[in-house]
Symmetry: C2
Amino acid sequence: MSTSTYEVTGMTCEHCVASVTEEVAEIPGVTDVAVDLASGGLRISSTQPIPDETVRGAVEEAGYRLA
Amino acid sequence: MSTSTYEVTGMTCEHCVASVTEEVAEIPGVTDVAVDLASGGLRISSTQPIPDETVRGAVEEAGYRLA
């Protein structure tokens, strides 16, 4: 079990939160995703460590950026 | 053929624009919907005039308000 945190920039509303959550949740091995709109916080729980670049790719796929 | 314009408040991103567009497009008789994020402008084309309250209901259903 692994948990890691990131900061996402560019989210302005709960639709943005939903988009990021959806993309990150599709990463194989991810078991839980929590996104906080106010802080930009993204917390990912997974069965094994997820490479940062994989997370970055998912966030950018959703249309946002990692800080 | 009828065209009317409104101002929507509370939209912060293109996801919001999509939500408003989708709800308004479902009003019977509506043939075209244009929403501008920057100004909040909502322009509706329809086969017959749409009551303001119907438009207000659709916008509020999407989670926003008419100015």
